[in-house]
């Protein structure tokens, strides 16, 4: 089976700095690939390169078998949808209006929605659990509610590739789990999904694969139970972490060290802080 999304040897230089180095992976239908890594490791940059919003300095991005740089924005949007981290939303538009914007790549020049568009948006809002918000204005919604509305917009694109940048931001636990379960279900239904996670446990419990990013390089990729080792995570995130068996079985649970553990070494932390300051915020 051909990969829906393929990155091959992607380098990205930005302001004289290497933000991504030799990033390669394939995203197939049915796969939910979780991207984890510390702040500034390039997670968001990978999503933006995959969505064709940033052009790699070297290497290629292939979407549905075609090089992405030869596709129009509209063609890309008909195949791939991106849920951004902090999307700007017009306050006076209703949730319905925003979700309907997901149909933009399929509408003609006049942007008039038809019955098909409406039924797709109904379905998308149902899936994203924000159907009851349809008539509410964006300014009236909480952060988590907005996130669900943007998720509905993303689903309304009916993409074959789904890119999510921290889809659970601003959400309470119930909606976090519902969101990740939705993404996992969509992947099982045949989408190819790539999601950035900060919550390692959420990532480990639902992703079919995990990729660990450190300083712009993929340092590990594979099934969660293969990738998650306390040594790797401690090294990448620069803190001591405990891995404990999950009481329900399956992938291990990742726990903070607590007061009895401690940060690796003061020296390492200092060095990490220095390099983060030099790199600035990338992710």
């Amino acid at each position: 089976m051909e990969a829906e999304l393929l990155l091959d040897g992607v380098d990205l230089d930005f302001g004289g700095r290497q933000v991504l180095r030799g990033v390669s992976f394939q995203l197939r239908r049915g796969c939910l690939l979780g991207l984890i890594g510390p702040n500034g490791s390039g997670k968001t940059t990978i999503l933006r390169v995959s969505a064709g919003l940033l052009k790699p300095t070297r290497g290629k991005v292939v979407l549905g078998g075609r090089p992405i740089e030869r596709m129009s924005r509209r063609e890309i949007a008909q195949r791939l949808a991106l849920l951004p981290q902090n999307p700007g939303l017009p306050p006076s538009f209703t949730a319905w209006d925003v979700a309907m914007m997901g149909r933009t790549p399929f509408m003609g020049f006049l942007s008039r929605e038809g019955a098909t568009d409406r039924s797709i948006v109904h379905w998308a809002m149902e899936m994203a659990r924000c159907r009851e918000l349809a008539d509410r204005r964006m300014e009236e919604l909480s952060g988590g509610e907005r996130q669900r509305v943007v998720m509905a917009r993303v689903l309304a694109q009916q993409p074959s590739v789904l890119l999510l940048d921290e889809p659970t931001t601003h959400m309470d636990l119930q909606h976090q789990i519902a969101m990740v379960e939705l993404v996992a279900e969509l992947a099982r239904g045949g989408m190819a999904a790539l999601a950035v996670f900060h919550d390692l446990n959420l990532a480990a419990s639902y992703c079919t694969q995990l990729a660990v990013l450190s300083k712009g390089q993929l340092v590990a990729m594979g099934a969660p139970e293969e990738v998650l080792s306390s040594r790797l995570l401690s090294e990448v995130f620069n803190v001591e972490l405990c891995l404990a068996p999950h009481p329900m079985g399956g992938t291990p649970a990742i726990l903070p060290p607590g007061p009895r553990g401690r940060l690796r070494t003061t020296k390492a932390v200092e060095a990490a802080r220095g390099s983060t300051a030099r790199r600035g915020e990338v992710s």
Binding site: R73, P87, P90, F93, H122
Partner: protein, 356 residues
């Protein structure tokens, strides 16, 4: 994806007043403003006479004139072109205002933001101060030069604001302010060094329709009408631009192309309006807000409805301007501010929610 059919109706509900209702109200406003404008003035014309004179112009109507010939001249050569120009300029400025507010995602944006006004002013001042053969004035040279100068100024602003292959709106705004100040300074210098032309140039800048004839209407109509249609068609994409530009891109919008088209057509409409009637303030800022307050934020209807309401508003304001008692006609810009500002404040206080 099986959706119960009764759910389909929900989506239409929040759109508020129906399509027919909104456009009906706007068209009625135009008819009322135009009708009153035709009739009132130094010579009052009653509706019957107006209708009869208009009908007599039709090719297949044979009607012996029972009205004084002067009425025909007043109606046909003075009032109608003036009213038509008021409608065109009101529509042009309002459409441009709505477009710039959408482009800059800023409720305070107005049509003069990216240097159109300063450019047109400089062009008009040049045309009036330079020794140009008088024959050219009757051909509308001031209007042409002001129009061209406005377009050149915006072109300069747009190219100065380009960073690589994109044009960030903040840079566009700043470049507009800078180039606008430069052109404004040049205009002031011309006025200062050509003392005897100050009153003419100043009167032009205050804006008004007291010299409007069909010739000026014919020059202004094509750019204003074409821009209104095209910008209305871009309304759906303007909605998507209300998200940030990255989101618009990932929804398939060619953002740079759309921004360019919005600036080009908003500039055409504004430049044609300003060249024909000088700098009339407030219309382009306030009309789109009134439309949004009344009928919601969807640019697919905000832009065409702004054209209609703006046309009605400026026709009415001009009627007030030319009928107010006084030694001479009041510049219409003063009337637009006096009528528009309180109405805007009233709407703003009545619905205490952000509309933008």
């Amino acid at each position: 994806m099986e959706i119960a059919s009764e759910e389909m109706n929900v989506s239409v509900r929040h759109r508020g007043v129906s399509w027919l209702g909104r456009y009906g109200v706007a068209l009625l406003a135009i008819l009322a403003a135009g009708g009153v404008g035709v009739m009132v003035g130094k010579a009052g014309l009653d509706p019957g006479t107006v209708l009869a004179i208009l009908l007599s112009r039709l090719p297949f109507v044979d009607m012996a004139p029972w009205w004084p010939a002067s009425f025909q001249t007043i109606l046909w050569e003075v009032r109608l072109p003036r009213i038509a120009m008021g409608a065109l300029v009101g529509a042009g400025l309002s459409v441009a205002g709505a477009t710039y507010q959408g482009l800059f995602r800023n409720p305070l944006a107005d049509p003069y933001l990216v240097g159109v006004a300063a450019g047109a002013g400089l062009g008009a001042a040049l045309a009036m101060a330079l020794p140009i053969p008088p024959a050219l004035y009757s051909l509308g040279i001031v209007q042409w030069v002001a129009f061209a100068s406005a377009l050149l100024t915006v072109a300069a602003v747009y190219s100065l604001a380009r960073v690589g292959r994109s044009t960030p709106v903040t840079t566009l705004l700043l470049a507009g302010v800078a180039v606008g100040s430069l052109a404004g300074a040049a205009t002031s210098f011309i006025m200062y060094s050509q003392g005897d032309h100050i009153p003419v140039i100043y009167a032009w800048m205050l804006g008004g329709f007291n010299t409007t004839g069909w010739q000026q209407v014919a020059l202004a109509a094509p750019p204003v009408l074409a821009s209104t249609v095209i910008l209305s068609l871009l309304g759906g994409i303007t909605n998507v631009l209300q998200l940030d530009e990255d989101q618009a891109r990932s929804l398939g919008v060619n953002v740079e192309l759309v921004k360019g088209a919005m600036v080009v057509f908003a500039t055409l409409a504004t430049a044609a309006s300003v060249a024909a009637s000088g700098l009339i303030g407030f219309v382009g800022l306030v009309v789109p807000h009134v439309v949004r307050l009344l009928w919601g934020p969807d640019y697919r209807s905000v832009i065409p409805l702004s054209a209609l309401i703006g046309a009605a508003f400026l026709m009415a304001a001009d009627t007030v301007a030319r009928t107010l008692p006084g030694p001479q006609e009041v510049p219409v810009g003063i009337v637009t501010a006096f009528c528009g500002a309180p109405f805007f404040l009233f709407l703003l206080r009545q619905q205490k929610r952000s509309v933008f």
